[in-house]
C-alpha cells in the first residue's frame, strides 16, 4: 500500500463545533496542514465563524481574524499591508470564506482585491448555500436544489454561478478547484498556490450533511461523486488563460450523485435530464477554454 503524503501536523484542535460529518471541518483540517503555522487566517461570517468555539477559546492554532461577512478580500488586503509595513513578507495571509461570502455578498471586495492582485490565498469553502443561517439559497446553490428559501414546490430555478470563470477573468496568477475526497490533489494545489505571489483562489467543495440532507458518513463519497459525475470538475487555471483539466476515469451519470442527497429527492427524471445536459454543456465550455 502507498504511504500517504498528507502531513501529520494538526493545527485544528479538539472541541470544535462542526456538525457530525461536516465536509468543511475536513476541508479546514487539510487546509491547515497545507498552510502551516506561519499563516494568518481571515474568516468572514460563515459556519466557520462559529466552529472554532466561542470566546475565550479557539480550536485553530494559527492567528485568526474574524471578519464581517462582506469583507474577506478587503480585510486580507489590510492585513497583508500591515505585515509588509512591518517587514514581514513571509507570513502568509489566507481567507476562508463561504460560498455566500464569495459568490454573493463578498464578491465586490474579492473582485477589488483580485484586480489589485493582492497577495493572499483565498479559499472559498463552498457548501452550496448559506448554512450558518440554516440552509438558504446562495448563487452557488445548484439548479433545482431544495433550500429553506427554495422549497420543493419552487426549487432553485437558476444554475450555479461560475465563480472560477469570474476569478479567471481577473487574470489572477492561480485558481484551482478541489474537494476533500481527493486530499493529495488538494494539498498539491495548496502547495503550488503557496509558492506563487498575488491573488490565489481555491474553490473547495465541502458537502454539508444537514444542508444537503445526506447521512453524515457519506460526506467523502458525495465529494467523490461530485467529481466523477462532472458536476464539480477538478482543474487549475494559471494567469487566467492556462487551463489544466484533470481527466476523470470513472465517469458516472449525475443521477448517481443526486440520488444520495435529500435536497434533490423531489427531482423528476426530466429535471435530472436537464441537469445532465447542463453538466455536459459546462464541460464543453471548460474544454473550449482549455483549448482541446
Amino acid at each position: 500500500m502507498r504511504k500517504t503524503e498528507i502531513p501529520s501536523i494538526e493545527n485544528l484542535g479538539h472541541g470544535h463545533l462542526a456538525c457530525a460529518g461536516c465536509g468543511a471541518a475536513v476541508s479546514m483540517r487539510l487546509t491547515l496542514k497545507a498552510l502551516g503555522e506561519k499563516t494568518v487566517m481571515v474568516i468572514p461570517a460563515s459556519c466557520w465563524s462559529i466552529i472554532p468555539g466561542s470566546w475565550p477559546y479557539s480550536s485553530l492554532r494559527i492567528p485568526v481574524v474574524h471578519a464581517g461577512f462582506v469583507t474577506g478580500g478587503a480585510t486580507a488586503s489590510g492585513i497583508r499591508a500591515a505585515l509588509n509595513i512591518r517587514g514581514d513578507y513571509e507570513t502568509l495571509v489566507a481567507v476562508w470564506a463561504g460560498d455566500g461570502g464569495t459568490f454573493d455578498i463578498g464578491l465586490q471586495a474579492l473582485s477589488g482585491a483580485a484586480e489589485r492582485n493582492e497577495d493572499f490565498i483565498y479559499i472559498c469553502n463552498d457548501n452550496e448555500g448559506y448554512m450558518n443561517t440554516g440552509t438558504q439559497r446562495s448563487s452557488a446553490t445548484p439548479m433545482f436544489a431544495w433550500t429553506t428559501t427554495t422549497p420543493v414546490m419552487q426549487p432553485k430555478e437558476n444554475p450555479k454561478k461560475d465563480i472560477m470563470a469570474i476569478m479567471a477573468d481577473h487574470q489572477i496568477p492561480y485558481a484551482a478547484t478541489a474537494t476533500i475526497a481527493y486530499p493529495e490533489d488538494f494539498l498539491r494545489k495548496m502547495k503550488k498556490a503557496m509558492k506563487i505571489r498575488g491573488t490565489r483562489f481555491i474553490h473547495l467543495l465541502s458537502p454539508c450533511p444537514p444542508g444537503w440532507k445526506i447521512p453524515s458518513e457519506l460526506t467523502i463519497k458525495i465529494s467523490r461523486l461530485a467529481v466523477r459525475s462532472r458536476v464539480f470538475p477538478l482543474y487549475e487555471i494559471e494567469n487566467g488563460i492556462s487551463y489544466t483539466l484533470q481527466e476523470e476515469s470513472h465517469v458516472v451519470p449525475v443521477k448517481e450523485y443526486l440520488k444520495l442527497q435529500g435536497r434533490f429527492s423531489h427531482l423528476t427524471d426530466s429535471e435530472i435530464e436537464v441537469i445532465q445536459e447542463n453538466v455536459g454543456r459546462a464541460r464543453e465550455r471548460l474544454m473550449k477554454k482549455a483549448g482541446d
Partner: protein, 384 residues
Amino acid sequence: MKKVITGNQAVAYGVILSRVDVISAYPITPQTTIVEELSELIASGRLKTIFLKVESEHSAMAALIGASTGGVRCFTATSSHGLAYMHEMLHWASGARLPIVLVNVNRAIGPPWNIWSDQSDSLSQRDTGWIQLYCENNQEVLDTILQAYRIAESVKLPVMVVLDAYVLSHTSEAVEIPTMEEVDPFLPPYCPEYPIDTQEPMAFSVITTPEYFLEFRYKIQKAMEQVPEVAKKVDDEFRSRFSRGYGAIERYGKKEAEILLMTSGTVTGTSRIVIQKLIEKGVSVAGIKIKRFRPFPSEEIYEEIKGAKKLAVIDRNLSAGVGGIFAQELRASLYSRGERPQVFGFISGLGGRDITPELIEEAVRYTWEHPQPEEEILWLGLKK
C-alpha cells in the same frame, strides 16, 4: 512654517505628520482632494505609506480593520454616502478596539443629491462607538488629526475628525505646519498591545456568548469615560509644544451671560463675530463651541453654563422626528442636573445653505426675547 492651504490639504499634512502606515480610501465629493493629495505624496516617494485603493468605502474600513489588527497606524477619509456605506464596519472598528482615525467631510446625505455641508452624516453614526471631534478652521483640522492618534491609541477606540464641506474642505486659510521633528516626540510610533503574531497565535473578534458580551461593551463605555481626561492631557501637552489648544468645548464672549449660544464646526467662526457685536449692543450673551461630540462633554458643558438662563443651540443636522441632534444630546445631558436652563433648538443651514450672521443674530434675539421656545424646533431661514 505657515502656508495658505485648504482644509483638505490640512488633512493631508496631518496624515503625513502622523506617519500613517496604511491608508485605504474611496473617493467622494468633497473628500476627493484629500485622497488625490495623499496619492501624489505617496507616488512621489515622500511617504512610505501603503495606500490601498479599494473598490468601496465598506472595503476601505474593512481593509483598515485588517491593517490595524496587524498593528500599524491607519487612516481613511470619506463623506456622506461613503460614511453611511461604512456603517457596519464603523461598529466593527470600535468593537475590535482599533485606533483608526477617519476624517469625515460633513456633507448632506441624499436624496435629493446634495454635496454641501450638513452634519447629518457624521451624527447619524453617533452610536457606533467612535470618538467624534468637530473642527472650526483649517489649523484645528491639522492639529486635531495629530491629537486624534494620541487619544485613539491611548484608549483603543477609533476617532472621527469632522470638518465642514467647502467652508473648510475647499477654502484656503493660513495654517501653521509643524515640522516632523516637532511632531515626532508628541506622537511616537504606534505600539499595539496585541498585534497579529504567528509565534503567539490569537483569535480576534471571536464569537462571544451572552455570558461575556455585556462586559465587552462595558469596557468600551469605560474607555469612552476615560476620553475626557486623556484628551485634556493630550491637548495640554499639545498646547505646551505648539502653543495651540482647543479643549472639549470653548466658552467665549461675556463672562456672566444670561444666554449662551451653542455651535459646532464653522458656524462657531461666524458666531464669534455676531456675539461680539451683540454684546456691544447690550445683549447678555456668550458662545460655547462644542468640539467633542462623542463622548458628549456633559461635565464640561455643565461647568460652563452655570448661571445661564437660556441655551440656544444651532444644529446643522436633523434627526427627523426629534430635531437637532446637538440640542437633543444637550437636553438629555442636562436632565439629571439640578439647574436646567431653557434649551432653544434651532435648525439651519441644512444641505449647505449659508448660516449667515443675520440668521445667527436672529437666533440669539429670539432667545433673548422669549422666556421659552414657542416650538420644540425653531427653523432658521426656512422658506415658507
